[in-house]
Amino acid sequence: MSRSVKNHIFSAVTKLALCLCAAVLGFLLLSIMWQGGRAISLDFILSPARDFGTSGGIVFQILGSLLLVVTAALIVLPIAVGTAIYRECYMQLAQNKARLDTVLYALNAIPSISYGIFGLIFFVNILGTGLSWFVGSLILAMMMLPTLTLASHAAMQALPKSYRENAQALGLSQGEIIRHVILPQSSGGIVTGLMISLARAIGETAPIMFIATAFSGVSLPQSLLEPVASLPTHILALAQQSTDPQALQNAWGASLVLVSFVAAFSALAFYIRQKFSHLGQR
């Protein structure tokens, strides 16, 4: 077989793979939009659920989901950025760096249901917190930690060494270098990482279903220790009543809203990365 024929075949195969990939994504998105679009109205988004979600809307599920992930983000951000700074600026031994990386990758690989079970056993059973959104946020924060730490650290590592050397030569202390060179230069990467981990966290069902969410009859929590409603667990509950067409339709609607949030976070991540890389090059 001649070389050019091989080349053609190879490029055709890769093209086919790309098309397949795009087709799956497109089919999924289109069906969610098609089915969900029929359920969605302003009323659906703005009114509370009734009759176990088969009628009414999903306003408290939306608010609950946002509350869960935003709190998780607030918890995880300082820990992840702190760890990344420590890894980049203070850790001396290459051995320890490798150990930390192993731990982070291992954390990343833990299935989300394990986090849920851990939360159930440790917080709900042993500490007796009951179903509470704050514990849910804690568990989500734990799940986001490796992703965000690795993203933050990658952003810091990508900075040219000369930045730090020049700042040192100007007599800046380690703390000043972190504050004025490393953090501002890597903030784009950190925020992008945060958005990506938010996009993942908001769709997670397993870690929160046993510990943070109630399926019906909840509005906004009055304290840290009250449960919330959330989109993914709501969809799960509706899908279990799949014989009821009204429940299914509402599940599609809630799915569409959830996917929109994921898309919004991802788009924001993309936008921030663009904006910051532009800032860096001006």
Partner: protein, 266 residues
């Protein structure tokens, strides 16, 4: 090895050397990069560090403000005095040393901020008023010979400047710290001949106010700007002295060969 003649040129109050090294040896891990180096850099004037690639010039320069110390494997033995105080014990807070001993690296590195922010980057003291800041920016940029080119766009990103302008901005940034010693590692290596001459003139002017130590591969440049020359080869000092001595018959064969033929077989 410095001859007494040029120590007498400088006035009484500056009689002590700005930098003095005695039996200095530097290592990266096991490898000995500089061995048993001893020389003095007199206060004021331009001291040029010359020698073939890999001789250890950058290593020597980077020792003087302890940037090398940031490298894990780096270590040294011997005595180094900077501004009359031992390099390590005399400066428990390394940032104080680095504010007195400014450094400009071979390739310019400006921060992705405005021109005036870059000049003030090392000045973290909150006490400076707005007018003081503006004057400082202006004097430093004028000293660095950059003012006329950038005075209209101080708030514009520094990354838009040409490489030669960025290098002068780096010099201005170092000057803003009002250092007593300025170290420059091949400051004209990445700029065109015209900008190089601008930087040379600037160094000559500055040398009346501070001690300048500069690494260069350019013999003609050494001839133009140096007051003193240190010739380094294979981690050892071949010869050090006033420029006039080094470029005259009085220098040793090895030095003369390097200076005239720019070739070294050491």
């Amino acid at each position: 090895m410095l001859q007494n003649t040029h120590l007498q040129i400088v006035s009484d109050q500056t009689e002590t050397a700005a930098i003095s090294m005695k039996n200095f040896s530097a290592y990266f891990g096991e490898a000995c990069i500089l061995s048993d180096v001893s020389f003095d850099v007199p206060s004021r004037g331009v001291t040029c560090l010359i020698g073939p690639s890999g001789a250890g010039k950058s290593t020597l320069l980077r020792t003087l403000n302890r940037i090398n110390g940031e490298t894990q494997t780096a270590s040294f033995t011997g005595e180094v005095d900077v501004l009359g105080k031992p390099l390590i014990e005399g400066y428990p807070d390394v940032t104080i040393l680095r504010r007195k001993v400014g450094m400009v690296f071979q390739s310019p590195c400006v921060f992705p901020r405005s021109i005036s922010e870059n000049v003030l980057f090392g000045r973290r003291d909150k006490k400076l008023s707005k007018t003081e800041r503006r004057t400082l920016v202006e004097t430093c940029l004028k000293d660095a010979g950059l003012w006329s080119e950038v005075s209209k766009r101080l708030d514009k990103p520094a990354l838009n400047l040409s490489l030669g302008q960025q290098q002068r901005l780096c010099i201005a940034r170092a000057l803003a710290m009002t250092p007593d010693i300025l170290l420059l590692d091949e400051p004209t290596a990445s700029v065109d001949p015209v900008s190089a001459r601008v930087i040379e003139d600037l160094l000559t002017r500055l040398s009346s106010k501070m001690t300048i130590v500069m690494v260069t591969h350019n013999i003609a440049q050494t001839k133009r700007v140096a007051d003193h020359v240190v010739f380094l080869c294979d981690g050892q000092i071949v010869e050090a002295g006033a420029k006039t001595d080094m470029f005259s018959r009085r220098s040793c064969d090895k030095t003369r060969t390097y200076l005239t033929e720019e070739f070294c077989d050491c």
